[in-house]
Symmetry: C2
Subunit: 209 residues, 2 copies
DNA sequence: TGACAATGAATGAACGTTCATTCATTGTGG
DNA sequence: CCACAATGAATGAACGTTCATTCATTGTCA
């Protein structure tokens, strides 16, 4: 091949996936037609089939991309200076980067798909286990968690944290459309902080909180 | 048909909704055809249209039914003798009554549908607000929560509890099929108890937990 | 350099299938 | 016999996928 070589093919794939994310979030996997995606991407239907075997493959690729994005979030959380800051990053990952309700709706759909597509389920499980392991380690090493963890082990704490994060993400899809990304972010932060204070705040401070 | 005749109309509706729940949980709203539902119910396609205007109406009726089921769960939770028991009821509602992963998958799908169908979103919001109000009141009146609430208000505690419950429900759809309803129930209970001990256990006991 | 051959990205009409919905027909209890 | 429950073949729209075709770009040889 003799194009501006290295990024032309990946660009097309990426362009298609970008369009697919918008469509999937707006209409869901199975209500999105290949025509919807091609229109959103500004290309023809046929071209999608040059880069993806079929619609399933587009969904799988989206799930893969989600995996990569989650591990980036995890990296950022690992490099935060405090445990609270890590939690804040984990809880707001989905309402700052892109336009607002897109990501949440996509992730809820992904779980919904996972419940009946074993391949997607494996992938989501894998993402979750990696992220859980990362956060468990984060907690093990955090000085804040040493003497204030309410008698729970790091892994138990991580499980609670992820449950709350998933639950808040689910709530996010119910938010009225008027709510801005910033307002949403603020709500997520509130809950993250409350959870932090429940799990990690020194007991001495609890009475005045 | 050979049933008691007087309630034949409600029976048919109910029969159709029962079948729809099974299909929706197995395949999702939009991958379930009207033929799937009619086959599961053991009736003809056309008959569904005698009792429901269209497929959307079936989905709406399912959401309505979900609303009623949630308020029953809430009633049971209200009549529990301890706050911990209430939490246990709220957390295991979906893995005891019917065969296991059916309800969880349906609820995740319901949220997914809510993200793009304002009518469903309103209904789910309404369910959630009612339930939140109920649990908030529950906490306000519970003696356990009087001096041990980690500085959080009843409504803030309720929000955390519901986030965890939703998050665990989401996790439930990832469980491998081999896992039995009892095992699932046990996992949910563990988390409910951990959350309870974080939020409500007297601080004096925390060190030894 | 210029003429021509080869490439393969891109198109979109067409195909076979599936689906929600309709309705003419049949069965049934009173 | 009538009113109504129930059927399922028929309909047409929408879908995922295919493929013959176009055409800008690149490679080649005189």
């Amino acid at each position: 091949m003799s194009q501006p070589p290295t990024d032309s093919v990946p660009d097309r794939r990426c362009q298609i996936l970008d369009a697919a994310l918008v469509c999937f979030a707006k209409r869901g996997f199975h209500q999105t037609s290949m025509h919807d995606i091609s229109a959103e991407a500004g290309i023809s239907v046929g071209l999608i089939y040059r880069y993806f075997e079929n619609k399933e493959a587009v969904i799988s690729a989206m799930a893969d991309r989600h995996k990569r994005e989650i591990s980036e979030v995890l990296q950022r959380a690992k490099h935060a200076r405090t445990l609270l800051e890590s939690l804040e990053i984990l809880f707001t990952a989905h309402c700052c980067e892109e336009e607002s309700p897109v990501v949440s709706a996509f992730v809820v759909d992904l779980y919904s798909e996972a419940s009946r597509n074993p391949q997607v389920a494996d992938l989501v499980r894998d993402v979750l286990e990696t992220a859980m392991a990362g956060v468990t380690e984060l907690i093990s090493k955090a000085p804040e968690a040493q003497n204030t963890a309410r008698g729970l082990s790091p892994i138990e704490l991580a499980e609670l944290i992820f449950a709350v994060a998933r639950g808040m993400l689910m709530l996010d899809v119910l938010r009225p459309v008027e709510m801005t990304a910033t307002e949403r972010r603020e709500r997520q932060l509130q809950v993250a902080r409350r959870l932090w204070s429940c799990l990690f705040k020194p007991e001495a401070e609890l009475a005045y909180a």
